[in-house]
């Protein structure tokens, strides 16, 4: 894993690594990739992936209208909001 790959992954994950820590993080990621790379030696041809131990179709619940409006509670948790919306820096000029 080179520095450029680490930079690309950081951008994809919207994370920034402190300059002083970048070498250590790169080394850590290499060690973890080496660990998970050991799986390559296992023969998995014709094996279906197991994405969830239950392997069942997700349940659907009835589509019912509820009158419980928690808008104010949700907006209260945002760092910036007005009466109706979450506020973010200007997106469209």
């Amino acid at each position: 894993m080179d520095r450029e790959t680490v930079r690309t992954i950081c951008y994809l994950a919207r994370l920034e690594i402190d300059k002083g820590k970048s070498e250590k993080i790169q080394k850590d990621l290499e060690a973890i990739i080496e660990l998970i790379g050991t799986l390559q030696s296992i023969d998995t041809s014709d094996i279906e992936p197991l994405y969830n131990p239950l392997e069942m179709t997700a349940f659907k619940h009835e589509d019912l209208e509820i009158s419980d409006n928690k808008k104010d509670k949700f907006l209260k948790n945002a760092a910036k909001s007005n009466e109706d919306y979450f506020l973010v820096p200007r997106v469209v000029e």
Binding site: I9, R14, F74, N77
Partner: protein, 486 residues
């Protein structure tokens, strides 16, 4: 009369005999949490609310709920309406949930009182509780030693006798390993047994809530309340929930317990091996038979887990962007910078590492090699379990390769060193199976845990095997000396 170190059953007797009121009981529990604040096992106490709720408890003398008036602590990743829920992260340090997790709602519905929210590894990522934004939790058995993780605060609060039981979550061993390091009992139920609704997600196909308590009987009491189908969780199991106390006393005569050939215990500390052999003998004396079994792919559990869990975490944690809830960085010029700065300042190093690994494993060109490959190996591991459970009732392993260790002594140079702590616990999560850790002695004055793994939905058998062992031993009665924490 002190309520410290009392089990739920013992506290019920005190309440029934009117030796103590629910109000006094909860008041004392909160006083103990304050007295031992140096353990750092609580992030937030729920003092006012607990006072109000416990004063309103009216125990039905004829048929009281076994949790009526009982103080409990909740791991700080269960959303609790109106009560701060942080996941021990800076990014959620001011989050007040607008709703309560189903598991907590059920426990409170049965009359229990939430006295506080417990410290944990940040977003449940860790095996030592050292990644918490609110600082490390001390192991009640030895100051400066880890309680295990990620449910370290819950385990320490129970071990210190502050509460008789607490909730935890287990993604790769996060209930069982801290239970082992703190000398208490911890159960990870079958995947889907307890609703995940309102649990802040780490790895959705592995996460499962469960109880930590002083003994198996108390775990059964909590499990009875926490279990059941919930339409709000799409992976909730719609199957019957037995009364887990009903068969807890059954004889173990003729029960077949498998010992996994691939786990070479000779690599472990000699005394850890000795404790294991002693417990094997104890189970034989109780009528169980041991059979050596082979799970050929189980050694691949750690790399499989450390591919799948980070992938799921990188997806789940994308919701923390500083916009709708949680920490937001100041002075950002555009939306992208708002995301990057809020996440970078809000998450700790271990969480960042796992998000990055997961992003890498899911990115174009690597998906098949890492993520899909790991899910294929996961099926092989599950197939191995399906096969051995045709010939055994339970499997037995140590819970952890070692006892609790000193702060900052593992994983600081290479995180993989700490990941290997999860060797014995991870496979049950990959296969969705229930597993329990019970204390079975000490090594160098620190507790060690014994793990039993059961077949799908067989928590009843795990609790039965654990309870019968505890009826015939005293390990679960051992109490730490808390002088150093006053």
């Amino acid at each position: 009369m002190s309520i410290q170190f009392k089990s739920i059953t013992e506290l019920n007797e005190l309440l029934d005999n009117k030796a103590i009121s629910a109000s006094e009981l909860n008041q004392e529990s909160i006083q103990l949490a304050k007295k031992y604040s140096e353990l750092n096992c609580f992030v937030t106490l729920n003092e006012e609310n607990a006072k109000k709720k416990s004063a309103a408890i009216k125990r039905n003398q004829k048929n009281p709920s076994l949790l009526s008036g009982i103080p409990l602590a909740q791991k700080d990743l269960f959303c609790t309406e109106g009560l701060r829920t942080t996941c021990s992260s800076k990014i959620l340090s001011n989050f007040i949930p607008p709703y309560t997790a189903t598991a907590v709602e059920k426990l409170e519905g049965a009359g229990s009182i939430t006295i506080g929210k417990t410290n944990m590894d940040e977003f449940a990522m860790g095996s030592s509780n050292e990644t918490s934004f609110f600082g490390s939790v001390h192991n009640p058995w030895k100051k400066g030693f880890v309680p295990g993780g990620s449910s370290g605060g819950s385990a320490a609060a129970v071990a210190a006798g502050i509460v008789p039981a607490a909730t935890g979550t287990d993604t790769g061993g996060s209930i069982r390993q801290p239970a082992a390091h703190c000398g208490i009992t911890g159960l990870k139920p079958t995947y889907g047994r307890i609703s995940r609704w309102g649990m802040i997600a780490f790895a959705s196909s592995l996460d499962q809530a469960g109880p930590l308590a002083r003994n198996a009987e108390d775990c059964a009491i909590l499990l009875n309340s926490m279990s059941g189908y919930d339409s709000k969780d799409t992976t909730s199991l719609n199957s019957e929930v037995p009364n887990f106390l009903e068969n807890i006393n059954q004889s173990l005569k003729g029960k077949k317990i498998g010992i996994i050939k691939e786990f070479d215990l000779s690599d472990l500390d000699t005394e850890v091996q000795e404790r294991f052999e002693e417990s094997k003998n104890a189970y034989e004396n109780l009528g169980a038979e041991f059979i050596e079994v082979s799970l050929p792919n189980i050694s691949a559990s750690v790399p499989t887990y450390y591919s799948i869990a980070p992938a799921e975490c990188s997806s789940n944690l994308s919701r923390f962007d500083g916009v709708r809830f949680g920490y937001r960085a100041e002075n950002t010029v555009d939306l992208n910078e708002l995301y990057i700065k809020s996440r970078s300042e809000g998450f700790g190093d271990e969480v960042k590492r796992r998000i990055l690994i997961g992003t890498y494993a899911l990115s174009a060109g690597y998906y098949d090699a890492y993520y899909k490959k790991a899910q294929q190996v996961r099926r092989l591991i599950k197939n191995d379990f399906d096969y051995v459970f045709k010939s055994v009732d339970l499997l037995m392993t140590p819970t952890s390769p070692s006892t609790a260790f000193k702060f900052e002594s593992k994983g600081t140079q290479n995180p993989v060193e700490l990941y290997l702590e999860d060797l014995f616990t991870i496979s049950a999560n990959l296969a969705g199976l229930p597993a329990i850790s019970i204390p079975h002695g000490q090594v160098n004055s620190l507790p060690v845990g014994l793990q039993l793994i059961g077949n799908f939905l067989r928590e009843d058998l795990l609790l039965n095997a654990a309870h019968v062992f505890q009826k015939n031993s005293d390990f679960h009665h051992a109490k730490p000396n808390l002088e150093d924490f006053k």
